[in-house]
Each structure stands twice: as structure tokens, then as C-alpha cells.
Amino acid sequence: MITNKSLIIPLVLFSSLAVLLWRSFSLEDPSLLPSQLLDKPFPEFNLEDLHSSTRIRNADDLLGDVSLVNVWATWCVNCLIEHPVLTRIAQGGVGIVGINYNDDLKKALVWLDQYGDPYTFHIRDNKGTLAIDLGVYGAPETFIVDESGTVRYRHIGVVTEEVWMEKLLPVINLLRGNSA
């Protein structure tokens, strides 16, 4: 016998399928690709520091504290838009490591002179190899890396005040809370 209870099953199935499809077809922006790196260690690299070609930076430089890793370049117009926001974030006590991506060294240094340099240090990725290992395909992009060097979050596009307050800061607070 079909009871009243079993009549609910198709309804439940239909609604869950509808919710699932609704979610998967309503991407914010189809150009945002999910990161393959989430919860994986930051890729290994050996690249020059932007300010000193003799100082070689590697993944160990990211250990110790939760930090933002920001991919930027002078050819990236939007990087200039997020620059004041990043400056405020750095003043608030969150370390930001820059990856200067496919850029001209002189132009990059002039840019930092002109607009200020809130970054802890910059990695010079002038061939884009680290960017490829990170799955980066444009700039700006911003990663949150925890104190053990694990990638925890990826934001593609400009870090605005809202993105900072609603997306990045909660993740940082969570990570800092967990490690305390």
C-alpha cells in the first residue's frame, strides 16, 4: 500500500534537485574558476625578492602567521583600485605578501614608490611560473595562507572594502581563532 508518508518522497527529491540546480547554475560570474589549491600547501618556489635580486624567497617565508598573498602588476589597472584597501588592511596588522606578476622590474619599483608599499615583501614572478602553480590567470588575485603555509581562501578580482569585511576578514579571524 502507498501510505501518505511515501507520497512526500517525490516532493523532497524534486525540491532538493531544484535547489541543487539553482545553486549550480547561478554562479556569481562564469569567469570565476574554483581553486584547485584550497587546503593544500602553498606551491614551492625559489624567486628573487623584488627589492633585492640576491635575496631568494621561498615558501618558508610565508610560515608563522596568517597572511594575504596578493598577485599584482603595474599593467593591472584594478590593482591600483584595491591598493588603498590593501594599505588599510596592512595597517590593521595583517601581513600582505606581494607577487609581482609578469611585470617590468623598474616600472614595479616606480609604482610602489608612487603609491606606497604596504607589503611585507614582494616575490618577483616575472615569468609567471609561480602564478601558473597557483592557478592564477589574471590580476589581481588574493590568497589567504595560514600559519602552516596552507592555502585557505582565494579571491579573484579587486579586494574592495566589502570583500575584505565580508569574505576575507571572517576567514582570517577564524584561522587566527583556531591557532590561538
Binding site: 502507498i2 569567469s31 574558476l33 574554483p34 584547485q36 589549491l37
Partner: protein, 152 residues
Amino acid sequence: MRNVTYGCIFLLFMPVGMASIDAHDFPDDDMQLRHQALIAELRCPQCLNTNLAGSDAMIARDLRREVRRLLLDGKSDEEVLSFMYDRYGDFVLYTPRIHIGTILLWFGPLLFFLAALAVFVGIIKNRRESTPKEVDREELAAILNAHAKELD
């Protein structure tokens, strides 16, 4: 960003011979052909639906160079595709890999069909079982008699 997109769209309409912008040297023709096949098979992560071969986006140029480097390192085609998959995910491959997500996507509808079929068969069976069976006439007569006596 927008310029890059327009650039990609523009490139779509260019003759195929002109699509590959940068000339790479390869030690042999075979590797050159593999390079061409791979960059045709990998999607440019920045342009929505253009392959690496047909895009002038910076990332497409870098990835073409990376494919070349991997081939010169002696990597197999499969290893090159895995390298890209590990970094850029499903999006980068024109032929997606089989994993839990794609299995659900491709075979999910079949599962739903089978479930529906099972329910349908179940309903039919239930109907059959609840239809009256052969009537035992003697038993029926006995019941009716007993009932008639009560009424008398």
C-alpha cells in the same frame, strides 16, 4: 580584462593558420605536433571558451610556453594535461575527467530514471496484489448464511 575578452573574440574569427602567435622551436616535428595538439585541447583559463592555441591573453602565452617546457622535459601528453588539471581544474580540459562530480552530472539522470522506473513497477505490483483474488464461494455462502441468521 575587457580588452582581453574582445581580443579573444576577435581571434576566434581569424584564420586558423594565424591563430598560433608565437613560434616555438622544437627538436623534432613530432613534438611540435604534440604541442599543437595539446594547446588545442586546453582551454584558456581567462577567455571563456577559447583554447590556448587561439588566444593572445597573457596567461595563454605563458601556458603555451609551459606546455613546451614540459614537453622538452620529456613529459608525456597525459602528464602535461594532469599538470594543467592540478592547477586550473576541470575548466582547462575540453575533455573533462571522470570524478564524483562528473559521474553525478553524466549518470545522475540515469539514476533518476531508474528510481522512477522502480517506483512505477512498485505501484503496478501493489495494484495487482490489492485486486480481489479468486472468490471462495463456499466460504462466502457460509458468511452470508450466518449473517442472514443473525438478522432473523
